[in-house]
């Protein structure tokens, strides 16, 4: 874990510094006025600033977006990959359903369609992660996760058609 050291610079502001894995030391000096300086310390004299970049408060935000923003985009892409081919849906249990008054285990939804019931909503209340013994009643809503085709099959199964 990277540690950031914070030092008060009297009359100036606050300085943050961190040692990078590459052995370099960088810092950020936040002036009271909001001005920011990105500091690079000299390798042979690690107490001395070798180069610095001065950023206005607005420019600092832009650079922060560029550095941190890339990370955000990467993790969004990963999430999409994980979600690809997966659908989530809310399926009603009609009054004439063959499974009203029976348990989730009886319906054998996962075995038949590969779809999981991740929650049941009854009278505006959610019952997350219901077990196989969970009893379904008419007008319940099942929250299901699976392939689009599996979900279509589940909807037909629950409706009893």
């Amino acid at each position: 874990m990277t540690t950031v050291r914070e030092t008060q610079v009297p009359g100036v502001g606050v300085r943050y510094e961190l040692d990078l894995e590459s052995g370099q030391r960088i810092g950020v000096l936040v002036h009271r006025s909001g001005r920011r300086e990105v500091l690079h310390y000299s390798p042979r004299d690690p107490d001395a600033v070798e180069a610095e970049m001065v950023l206005t408060a607005a420019e600092g935000k832009v650079v922060a977006d560029l550095l941190g923003g890339t990370q955000l985009i990467e993790s969004l892409t990963q999430m999409q990959q994980r979600v690809e081919g997966l659908a989530i849906d809310w399926l009603p249990l009609p009054a004439g359903s063959p499974f009203a008054g029976r348990t989730i285990g009886d319906a054998e939804v996962r075995t038949r369609t590969g779809v999981s019931i991740v929650a049941v909503i009854r009278d505006d209340q959610a019952y997350p992660a219901p077990g196989p013994d969970f009893g379904l009643v008419a007008d319940d809503t099942a929250v299901v996760v699976g392939t689009p085709a599996g979900i279509r099959a589940t909807a037909e199964l629950l409706a009893g058609s």
Partner: protein, 391 residues
């Protein structure tokens, strides 16, 4: 025909002031070109237009005297604005030992020199103050010019400066008490009252600083300027009446204000401070006897050498405690060598109190040397340090 006389006078005053400002501008430009502090050249400018000189200032002298008074108030007010009470407490906590060493190592040579010169105890104590205190103005300018604000030794350097300012806030009333020599008891009472006032103001600054800042805060620069200048002069004048020097009152007003208000105030006051501080150095130079300056130079230079060494020792010791490497320690030590505005303020206080008249030229010669040599010295810190390291 009094009106004609008045017109002639006004013309003389304006011409004199204009000429003297131009003189200061030229001096400042030369200093800037050489990369040194303008303070020595301002002092010499004062010498040039002082008593007995061919271009002696006559009509504008009174104005410059009042300007000098305002200059002290502004110097200390802006200095106080730079630091918050919280930073002061932090500095006290982390660098207390270095602060004590700073005081002992740098005031002692001054006191000893004063006694050796046969000046008497009070004057010797004042000389101790003069050799003790580094110039915040020169040091911060050098740190900025040399790009050292982000360096790891800089918080230690600034911390020491804050402690010196705090020490000066306590020293000035004590010194003023010593000057009014009217029986031990009265002097002790004066010092006690001044000390209590300083302590009380610090407490107010720490406790109610935020509230005071909000009270003063206003978006108009003009009104902020008028408010602050009014408050500072009023407090400074009141302080003077209870024998605490005006400078301390102004410093405390500055410390009491913090946050965005202090930041805005610093910006509007800085140009005014520069103008009136120049008037202050000029005025100090005006009062000097050129014939006394040269004889004072050898002894002052000797003391300058000793106290340059003690300052370098203090700064590098403090930096070493903060875990700074050799080059940083040498930078921290050498940058603190410069003495300037505060040494002159202390000397001015002593002279105003009718103390040893040799103190003026001596202090001027001392500051002349160290305000010039200090910034130059620290420029060579890195090459020297790297050469030592390579061996």
């Amino acid at each position: 025909m009094t009106s004609t006389v008045a017109v002639v006078d006004a013309a003389t005053v304006l011409v004199e002031l204009g000429a003297v400002l131009l003189l200061l501008a030229v001096a400042g430009r030369v200093a800037d070109r050489l990369g040194v502090s303008p303070i020595p050249l301002y002092l010499l400018s004062g010498l040039l237009v002082g008593e007995g000189s061919a271009v002696e200032l006559k009509a504008s002298r009174e104005f410059i005297e009042i300007g000098a008074l305002v200059g002290i108030v502004l110097l200390l007010l802006v200095l106080g604005l730079e630091y918050s009470g919280r930073e002061l407490v932090t500095s006290l906590r982390t660098n207390r030992a270095a602060g004590v060493l700073d005081l002992v190592a740098n005031a002692t040579p001054g006191v000893v020199a004063g006694l050796l010169l046969g000046w008497g105890t009070t004057a010797a104590v004042f000389l101790g103050g003069i050799t003790y205190i580094s110039s915040s103005g020169i040091v911060s300018k050098v740190l900025t010019d040399l790009g050292r604000i982000g360096n790891r030794e800089t918080p230690t350097v600034l911390s020491l400066l804050i402690l010196e300012d705090l020490a000066m806030a306590l020293f000035l009333p004590v010194g003023a008490g010593l000057l009014v020599a009217h029986g031990v008891l009265d002097t002790a009472a004066d010092i006690a009252i001044a000390g209590l006032a300083v302590a009380g103001a610090f407490l107010v600054a720490l406790r109610f600083g935020d509230r005071l800042s909000r009270l003063v805060a206003i978006s108009s620069d003009e009104l902020l300027l008028l408010t602050l200048l009014g408050v500072a002069l009023l407090v400074a004048g009141t302080a003077e009446q209870i024998h605490a020097p005006a400078a301390v009152g102004a410093l405390l007003v500055g410390i009491a204000l913090s946050g965005p208000t202090a930041e805005a105030a610093r910006l509007v006051l800085a140009p005014l401070r520069d103008l009136f501080a120049a008037a202050f150095f000029l005025y100090f130079g005006l009062g000097l006897d050129p014939a006394a300056l040269v004889p004072a130079l050898p002894a002052a230079a000797g003391l300058a050498l000793v106290t340059a060494v003690t300052k370098i020792g203090t700064g590098s010791w403090a930096a070493r405690r903060a875990g700074i490497g050799l080059p940083g320690r040498i930078r921290a030590g050498t940058v603190l060598v410069a003495r300037g505005e505060f040494s002159i303020i202390i000397a001015g206080l002593a002279l105003a109190g009718g103390l040893e008249s040799d103190l003026g030229p001596f202090a001027a010669a001392y500051v002349l040397v160290l305000a010039t040599v200090g910034p130059l010295l620290t420029r060579f810190a890195d090459p020297v340090a790297y050469a030592i390291q390579r061996r």
